[in-house]
């Protein structure tokens, strides 16, 4: 589903990712961990196509040119850096944005779309807030709205960049339950996280990064706190 072959990326002179090789199969939950500055977020930005590598191949859906398949991808960015709290948009409007790529030009949202939005908001315990301005919600609620926007289009690939940063435990629990539900629906999930221990039992792959390189990749149930310490605290 997702394949990176010898991928390197940099900003101007600075190399941020070096010779990355990674294969994620359909329906897998892959988490990416590592200290700050290790290249985790850059890696997901390369996978999404926002950053173009100067070397190597990125394949999604088995193709290098996956423009036609883009509408099957949803991306949840790091909330704080991507959203202006004063932006005049309601919770419902935000969630409906997730359907824009599928709707096409000139087509307005219909009853079915509104029902989809209501359903996903109920699932994420946000229905009561649907007419509120997004910026007026708590950090955890806002993050759940971003996730609702990503899920409403029923994506085949879901990419999340540190979705649990700054959110309350209730939102975290709802998020993880939802991710597992998506995984069971055969959605491929790539998630950058600092909170690996909360989800390690469900991850099919744990990619450990440092200084722009993949140190090691653990398979399902192989990852443990002890191994994590061995990798990152032995310097």
């Amino acid at each position: 589903m997702i394949e990176l072959i010898d991928v390197s990326f940099g900003f101007e002179e600075k190399i941020v990712l070096k010779d990355i090789n990674l294969k994620i199969e359909k329906g897998e939950l892959c988490t990416i961990v590592g200290p700050n500055g290790s290249g985790k977020s850059t890696l997901v930005h390369v996978i999404t196509g926002i950053y173009k590598p100067y070397k190597g191949i990125v394949k999604l859906f088995g193709r290098e040119d996956y423009r036609e398949q883009r509408r099957k991808i949803s991306f949840v960015p790091q909330k704080v850096s991507s959203f202006n709290q004063l932006f005049p948009i309601s919770v419902k409007e935000t969630v409906l944005l997730g359907l824009v790529p599928q709707k096409g030009f000139f087509k307005r949202f219909n009853k079915e779309d509104f029902k989809k939005a209501d359903d996903i908001l109920k699932k994420l315990d946000l229905y009561e807030t649907k007419d509120k301005q997004l910026g007026k919600l708590s950090g955890g609620q806002q993050q759940r709205v971003f996730i609702a926007r990503a899920l409403i289009s029923e994506p085949e690939i879901l990419i999340l960049d540190e979705p649990t940063v700054g959110i309350d435990s209730k939102s975290e629990e709802i998020l993880y339950n939802l991710l597992l539900e998506q995984k069971n629906n055969n959605t491929t999930i790539v998630m950058v996280t600092h909170d690996i221990f909360a989800i390690k039992d469900y991850a099919d792959k744990v990619v450990c990064m440092k200084d722009g390189e993949i140190l090691t990749i653990f398979g399902a149930k192989e990852f443990s706190a002890k191994k994590y310490k061995q990798i990152y605290l032995t310097d």
């Binding site: 926002i50 991306f75 960015p77 959203f83 932006f87 948009i89 309601s90 997730g98 030009f105």
Partner: protein, 261 residues
């Protein structure tokens, strides 16, 4: 007042412009790219200068030059990635520099003042037809792309990842801004057009919680200010651009005051 043909034309042009300017302006405001209005309005002044110099309708000159710079801007933004304001400043200054040289060669200064600060007597029937011809496809473009434009304003990366053609939409938005500036030139004047693009949205942002209401309120605020501004301009013999911006400023102050209470 309405028995004068020039006032009828001023009101029709004013109403059209007051509806489409905030509809487009709100997108650039939300993209935090409001300064593009200021930059392209200076390009419009250069277009007017060129129009007057070579003897064509200055409005056509303004439209051609603003569209040219709107396209050039996207290229320059790439050159100065992350420093968009550099490309904006460069176009503003280049436009003003060339305009200053050309205006110093043109004899009629009254004409120039009309284009800088607007005039209600200056709108000809040909201008009105041109305004309509530009306004109708512009509104259609907004209707076609409204969902996509909101998406790129809210989260450009997310929109790109999901397959929205961000590059094309940014270009469409720049061209729409250029068009609205070109047709607003007669009434509001080159120096004050960006107020029409940004201030109705800025006032509405204080009052609304969603994007639909933002569009609705900003059109109503703009419509009220433009019509009232034209009336003031007629009775007080002042520039309509100036009176419209003063009304905007008063409305903004009232909104701030009410919110603070």
């Amino acid at each position: 007042m309405l028995r004068y043909a020039f006032m009828q034309r001023a009101f029709i042009a004013g109403i059209i412009i007051s509806i489409i300017a905030p509809l487009i302006g709100n997108y650039i405001m939300l993209k935090r790219f409001s300064q593009i209005g200021d930059t392209l309005s200076h390009s419009a002044i250069l277009g007017v200068a060129l129009g007057l110099l070579i003897g064509i309708n200055p409005l056509i000159g303004a439209l051609v030059i603003t569209i040219f710079f709107a396209i050039a801007l996207e290229r320059l933004r790439k050159e100065f990635k992350g420093f968009a304001e550099i490309s904006l400043s460069m176009i503003t200054m280049a436009s003003l520099g060339f305009s200053a040289i050309i205006f110093s060669r043109i004899k009629s200064s009254a004409n120039v003042m009309n284009y800088l600060f607007g005039s209600i007597v200056a709108i000809s029937l040909a201008d009105l037809i041109l305004i309509l011809l530009i306004a109708i496809p512009s509104v259609l473009l907004i209707l076609i792309f409204q969902k996509e434009l909101l998406y790129i304003c809210f989260d450009e990366d997310g929109a790109y990842v999901s397959g929205i053609n961000v590059k094309l939409l940014n270009l469409v938005l720049n061209i729409l801004v250029a068009l609205v500036i070109g047709i607003s030139l007669r009434i509001v004047g080159g120096f004050l057009i960006s107020a029409l693009l940004v201030i109705p949205g800025a006032i509405s942002m204080k009052l609304v919680s969603n994007f639909r209401k933002l569009q609705l309120y900003s059109v109503l605020i703009s419509l009220f200010s433009v019509v009232f501004g034209i009336i003031l301009s007629f009775y007080l013999n002042i520039s309509p651009g100036g009176s419209i911006v003063v009304i905007f400023t008063c409305l903004y102050a009232i909104t701030e005051f009410k919110k603070g209470m």
